[in-house]
């Protein structure tokens, strides 16, 4: 009996493990930032360099950080989705313009529409490193208390917005209200 059951059990175990492995995307690096305080930054605004955009001012309500650049194909791909998300007015979306050209980035927003409440310009990519960014587009969700709640790597879709972001924003809102 064991002679047949054991190899069969091992085979099933291996098959299940490999099946799970098929579903996973090895290029997605889990972020160690989740559940930890969001890295602070104060960067010049893309539109007006004399106006700083600082994380310290964003406390009190959940907000989104979207890392984008004009050289990033996926950013172009997700742009319409970002506009639709912004139109829902659920949480302010801050853009982090990563290693980009100022004029080109402004033209992009003028032509395609601007989903961002504000855009911070990270010309040297230092803030991006603090946030563990490795490939645009990336979208972070930050809670009212400044904790990183979620990170999505790859173009945003309405499906991911609905299933991953909205429930977390809802939960963050409720816990923030209880805290108050």
């Amino acid at each position: 009996m064991w002679r047949y059951a054991l190899p069969l059990a091992l085979f099933v175990l291996l098959a299940v493990a490999l099946r799970i492995g098929l579903e996973r995307d090895p290029s997605v690096v889990p972020s160690p930032l989740i559940g930890r305080p969001a890295p602070e930054f104060s960067l010049p605004s893309l539109q007006d360099p004399s106006y700083p955009i600082a994380t310290a001012e964003l406390r009190g309500a959940p907000w989104l950080l979207n890392v984008w650049a004009t050289w990033c194909v996926g950013c172009r791909q997700e742009h319409d989705v970002l506009l639709q998300i912004a139109a829902q007015n659920v949480a302010p979306m801050i853009g982090l313009n990563w290693k980009d050209d100022n004029g080109g980035a402004r033209r992009w927003l003028a032509e395609l529409g601007n989903p961002y409440a504000a855009v911070a310009e990270d010309r040297e990519g230092r803030v991006a490193i603090d946030w563990g960014v490795y490939g645009a587009p990336e979208t972070f969700l930050i809670g009212a208390d400044g904790t990183v709640l979620y990170k999505h790597v790859a173009p945003m879709t309405l499906e991911i917005w609905r299933t991953e972001f909205l429930p977390r924003i809802e939960l963050a809102r409720r816990t923030a209200e209880i805290g108050r």
């Binding site: 690096v29 889990p30 230092r126 490193i129 946030w131 563990g132 490795y134 490939g135």
Partner: protein, 145 residues
């Protein structure tokens, strides 16, 4: 003739190709520091092109990470502090040589476990076979000898 030129060209390319570096920054004046810088770069993974270290990669992010390493070294930070800086931002994946932790413990233990299982099975198998052969010997030994 053409073939000979091609072979010479290829040989030259191999020699020169090996010395090309994309790190356009000036080397450290102290060769010890330069060696340390290169060693640290070889320990850190480029997260864009994941099978390369930041020493090998031309990706802009790799250049940025090399800059961070250089600046931290100039600020007098230790190797452990530099590694910690990367770990806090990119997680264990940034280390080209993985550390042992709770998630990959099974992977580290697998060779020993497999050896134990295989060895155990082999021992059992050999014992059983020996016992069978012994039985054969005592049973019909006279006929064979």
């Amino acid at each position: 003739m053409i073939l000979r030129r091609f072979v010479i060209g290829l040989a030259l390319w191999c020699v020169i190709g090996g010395t090309w570096a994309f790190d356009s920054e000036a080397a450290f004046e102290d060769p010890v520091q330069q060696a340390r810088y290169e060693r640290l770069n070889r320990e850190l993974r480029c997260l864009v092109c994941q099978n390369q270290t930041i020493a090998d990669s031309t990706a802009p992010l790799a250049a940025d990470l090399r800059r961070e390493v250089r600046e931290m070294m100039q600020a007098g930070r230790t190797d452990a502090e530099i590694r910690q800086f990367m770990l806090e931002r990119y997680g264990d994946f940034v280390l080209y040589r993985p550390r042992m932790n709770a998630t990959n413990l099974l992977l580290w233990a697998a060779p020993a476990l497999l050896l134990l299982i295989g060895g155990g099975a082999a021992v059992r198998f050999i014992r059983r076979r020996t016992a069978e052969v012994d039985e054969d010997d005592t049973g019909s030994g006279a006929g064979r000898a």
